[in-house]
Subunit: 700 residues, 2 copies
């Protein structure tokens, strides 16, 4: 796969060739040629069997055609690779392969797809597909798809892993008056994928919002890095399907996508600044709001309504969202009182009551939008004899422009809302029947506002002993170990994650030396990769005094050998006694997701992780802010923060441990899984009491 492909070039060709163009009725080759009728540039056909196709000049191959910027390939699967090679030879940069019958069919098709990738790499091609519906771009009238609908012009750019979904969306969007800048059907993503289009549209001044329907992401880390740069300015809204277990199974059988874990996607999109939509309705509700409305200054909503009941519904929706109902300044309340009858309610939601005419609505909305406490507004109206919706729509458009704050509307009703909705739509303002959807749109703005306000700090580069860590891992690899236990505590030491005093020793005298250096009694544990449950065989001794250490050493080794004569015994760990009751046991873990790489997990130990599943996840490496969010997200966070008379834990110490582990697992892809369990969080630190990890020596 290309790492820095320029997907943007696909959408602004001057001359397009349809390779496999034909005038055969019902064929895809014909459908594409027909769809190119409105293209502002040149169209040429390539087909050795024809001299012209539907009026376009036809050439036997691309080498004989005039220079082309985009080749759309619709030839049979067996000759696709050759056709694409011809394109490469002819100096074409951008190729869309419509033809299906590649990796999605397995076996031979998958092999063909590998060949296709090789050719694309050889000629440095920006290749979409195979198995794509095509691409379109409205500014030049380019419709290089075989879909039944063209798109209206607009500023949404949309990528989809399902071509059928594009056909459905375009048909519907035309009806709704929703327009697009570019549309790309990703197909099998053999070369160009979601990250490439994210970058391209992030650089495109005509794309206001990036939309995606994705079933999987190929390289999660690359996606996060690219997307967070883009979303800092351009909102991206994505439906990731296969969210649920059932859905992931369905996605896998649909495109052969390996879904990766939902937790990884959730974390990855969060870190990438992508606004996640749960379903199609949210995808377009959010997109329209982000396209048409200015960013709010705050999350405080004002609701102006002529109907109390719907006002309450809107307030409930605010309560369900991250938004708050704005509290008005005294001046605002005074002004509202002055301009409205006594029965009106001047507090938020403002009820201008059923007999409100246009002036009263205008005055109330103007007043609340002028209030510095108000970040955005919802105008709600039930049909009454005194309100003309079209006029009310115009008032909303005017006042939104005047105050430059986002306003959405619920002008409730049937046909009578149509003309008002047109007026509002032209100004980028969505109108809904359901107050909950309107508030949901404002909520999406609040998410994007938070994304744009983030400072993306680089992960801290701690001063660690990477060589020591490498040595520990290599030693383990040398002895053929793939699962490591307490003998790897020094790995944590090397990365500055606090561990109790102590060492793994391999003779009784050393054990005494170590114990002497430790205040008070010690804990001693047999260290053997072959003995997983040490306590069960008497392989752990607590409260061992300095005098008892040597005997205890011998005893532990004897027990281990008795239990399993051929066990590899690495020695005995002699460790400071730690009072676990002096803190809260937490778990800090890592595993590798096939798409996103190292995933960090944090949670309180025991039932919190196992029964209540109260954990937080981030893709490593994490910044200090992201590590802090991992604590914030836990339902059980109050238990680390002094609830029920506990001492508050040292959160800085926890987040530092999280970041140091993040650095460790980023530095060493050989670490496949790692659990610090428990990481004991106390009021003045965080200490790793035990560790287990799995390594892949091949990756060292």
């Amino acid at each position: 796969m290309k790492t820095q492909a320029d997907a943007g070039g696909l959408f602004a060709p001057e001359r397009v060739a349809v390779v496999g163009a034909t005038d055969r009725e019902g064929s895809i080759g014909r459908a594409i040629v027909e769809n190119l009728a409105d293209f502002d540039g040149d169209v040429v056909a390539v087909n050795p069997g024809r001299e012209s196709v539907l009026g376009y000049d036809c050439y036997p191959d691309l080498g004989e055609a005039p220079a082309v910027d985009l080749a759309v390939v619709v030839v049979p699967p067996s000759i696709v690779v050759d056709a694409v090679r011809d394109a490469g030879k002819a100096g074409v940069n951008n190729v869309v392969v419509i033809t299906a019958g590649f990796s999605e069919t397995g076996g031979e098709g998958a092999e063909r797809e590998r060949d296709l990738v090789d050719v694309a790499e050889e000629y440095d091609l920006n290749l979409v597909g195979p198995n794509s519906l095509g691409v379109l771009s409205t500014p030049t009238g380019l419709n290089a798809t075989f879909g039944p609908s063209n798109a209206l012009p607009g500023n949404l750019s949309f990528m989809s892993q399902s071509g059928a979904f594009i056909t459905a969306v375009l048909d519907w969007a035309n009806d709704q008056g929703i327009g697009f800048k570019d549309v790309a059907s990703l197909g099998n993503k053999a070369v160009l994928g979601e990250t490439d289009f994210m970058r391209a549209w992030g650089d495109d001044p005509d794309t206001n919002v990036i939309l995606g329907y994705l079933e999987g992401i190929d390289d999660g880390r690359e996606f996060i890095d690219a997307a967070r740069e883009v979303t800092d300015e351009t909102p991206a809204v994505v439906v990731k399907s296969g969210r649920t277990e059932a859905g992931a199974q369905a996605a896998s059988s649909h495109t052969g996508t390996i879904a990766g874990s939902e937790a990884a996607y959730e974390a990855g999109f969060q870190q990438a600044g992508v606004v996640r939509a749960e379903n199609v309705q949210e995808l377009f509700d959010f997109a329209r709001a982000l396209d048409g409305l200015p960013m709010p200054d705050s999350e405080n909503v004002a609701v102006v309504t002529n109907a109390g009941g719907p006002g309450v519904m809107a307030t409930d929706a605010v309560g369900d969202s991250r938004l708050s109902m704005a509290s008005f300044e005294d001046d605002t309340l005074d002004e509202l009182r002055g301009s409205m009858p006594d029965e009106a309610n001047v507090y938020n939601p403002v009820d201008v009551i059923g007999d409100a005419d246009l002036d009263r609505f205008r005055s109330a909305l103007d007043t609340v939008l002028a209030d510095d406490n108000v970040g955005c507004a919802l105008v709600l109206s039930a049909p009454t004899a005194v309100i003309d919706y079209e006029e009310l729509g115009e008032v909303v458009v005017d006042l939104q422009a005047k105050h430059d704050k986002p306003v959405v509307t619920c002008l409730m009703g049937g046909e009578r809302t149509d003309r008002a909705a047109d007026v509002l739509r032209a100004a980028g303002i969505p109108n809904y029947f359901d107050p909950a959807r309107a508030i949901g749109s404002l909520d999406a703005l609040a998410v994007q506002r938070e994304v744009q306000s983030r400072e993306y700090e680089a992960p801290t580069d701690f001063d660690v002993d990477r060589d020591a860590a490498r040595e520990i891992l290599e030693d383990a690899a040398d002895r053929g170990a793939t699962r490591l236990g307490v003998e790897a505590m020094e790995l944590l030491d090397a990365y500055g994650i606090p561990t109790p005093d102590g060492e793994v020793v391999d003779d009784p005298a050393d054990a005494r030396w170590v114990a002497n250096d430790i205040d008070g009694d010690v804990v001693m544990k047999i260290v053997s990769p072959d003995i997983l449950h040490k306590s069960d065989i008497g392989g752990v001794k607590v409260g061992v005094s300095d005098e008892e250490v040597a005997d205890a050493y011998e005893d532990l080794v004897t027990r281990a050998k008795n239990y399993q004569p051929d066990a590899t015994i690495l020695g005995v760990q002699v460790q400071e006694m730690v009072d676990v009751d002096a803190g809260t046991e937490t778990i800090l873990g890592m595993n590798r997701d096939p798409q996103f790489g190292p995933l960090l997990l944090f949670g309180l130990g025991g039932i919190f992780v196992e029964i209540l599943e109260d954990t937080s996840v981030r893709v490593a490496p994490v910044s200090d802010r992201e590590a802090g969010e991992m604590i914030d997200e836990l339902d059980s966070a109050p238990l680390l923060r002094g609830a029920r008379g506990r001492d508050p834990a040292d959160e800085d110490a926890i987040t530092e441990s999280v970041q140091r582990l993040s650095q460790l697992v980023t530095d060493f892809p050989a670490i496949l899984e790692l659990d610090v369990n428990p990481l004991l969080a106390t009021s003045d630190g965080a200490t790793a009491l035990d560790v287990r990890l799995t390594i892949d020596p091949e990756e060292l």
Copy 2:
């Protein structure tokens, strides 16, 4: 309020009088007369100043008019009570008071409303309002509202606490082709309320689904009892607004409704069998599905699609719901394989692929609907050249009728879906663009299926010592106590909730007697309503041997007196030592909700209730099934069920304690709040270790 008002009579009058009828332009009195133009029965006007109104005969008062079944009152607020009295005297049974200016305005208006209630009671009137938009009923063309729209005929009956919401809904529903049987604007609910309409529509053969927009429920227990009888046959879907804190505040300032707690509503609707909608969209999505579709036999969904991506989205939506993806029988798979091309996917979601024609769709849907594992189905289609949506709609209608299983559709697209949607709508089948909404509709059917499958068992009537309980409460009341502690353990004993051996005694000799009867050492606690934190003043002694009991008694009393010389000391509790580590501490509590009465709460103790808010709530009295659900609902339930190597708790003992407490608080409204904390759940029982309660002596 009338307890068994017959709201049904309102909707089938033969002659309607408009009291306050007028032909003055823009007046409500005129709007109502105009809206009655299509009424099949007679209309008379009542207005002393006119001889006829808009062609209807006009009478000076109801006494002089011919006999009337329904009087719609629109006179000024000051003369409403007189007008209603006249109606009562004239033998009119049903009255709708449109006029506003009653309790919603407070003060004088509230007084006027009380007078109105008195008159309604005196004449046994079925009175809607005041402050109502009116009522309508489509079978007779009755539109006794002043709203701008009439309703299409249908089988939904709709009550709303917001008149404006009715005007918005009717306007919108006409556009959507959604029809109604009856509509009632509840207004201030001075006499008839939600429970009355629930009953009336439950008895109405023409009402298929009851819809409600409610901001509060006046008598929760009565509502539950009425609704559960109704919902066993007729589905009821309710939006209760004021769900959130912000929303509850807004509702309160809108109609003066005291919202009651959201937890109470959640429990109450669940127990009543009401399908709860979160927003307007769900209200009508659920209503349409419940109106038009047969009940499914199971919660297993089959999805048939020509588009993989939307199929995955639908599968995700199934994963989010209580539904499951159906697993097909082998015969079904064989048949699908036989009728579809190799590239099709015969597993659920069935992908008939993009080139599927009508026959392939028909065959696939027919096959999966015939499978006994399939309870319901979704047909999904993206627009293609080979599928005509109208024809596909007809196929769905036919096959749904043939198999009598609920089918919903997502024929995705814009205008091209319109005619198909009409065909489907006529057969009661909803069509959506978004697969998530389609699955949401099937989910509502699954909720209703569960409601209808419930056996409403009466709460168990345990053999308890009610007299003893009364005596304990009366003793407390006699000494002026409102807050009781361990001295009330006997209250639990009286209702058969196990407590440790022990007694409250008031001299050292008795203390010895009690201790002698108890095996092993005892716990002793000072008993005083004035000392809340006994431990803090040394008011608790654990591990007291028989020999030490008398001295301990004196010591406890001395400490208490030193701490607070004027404290009332009721004695000392001498109790068996209980090992709390031998079980799991749970909390069993009760408080009284203003609308629903006694609410029971159950959860695991400590952080589970306080930090994680993992509790379950039911309105008392509860049946055995409902008590069991209270355990099932807890996220922490596994901790009672043997997770992490614990002994499973005796759930029967817990549910019995829940039910016995339920009986206690139902028998004694004087108990305002009660907490058994902890109720120690062990493998062979549940024991109340401590109790606190608050009583209202007035209620005894």
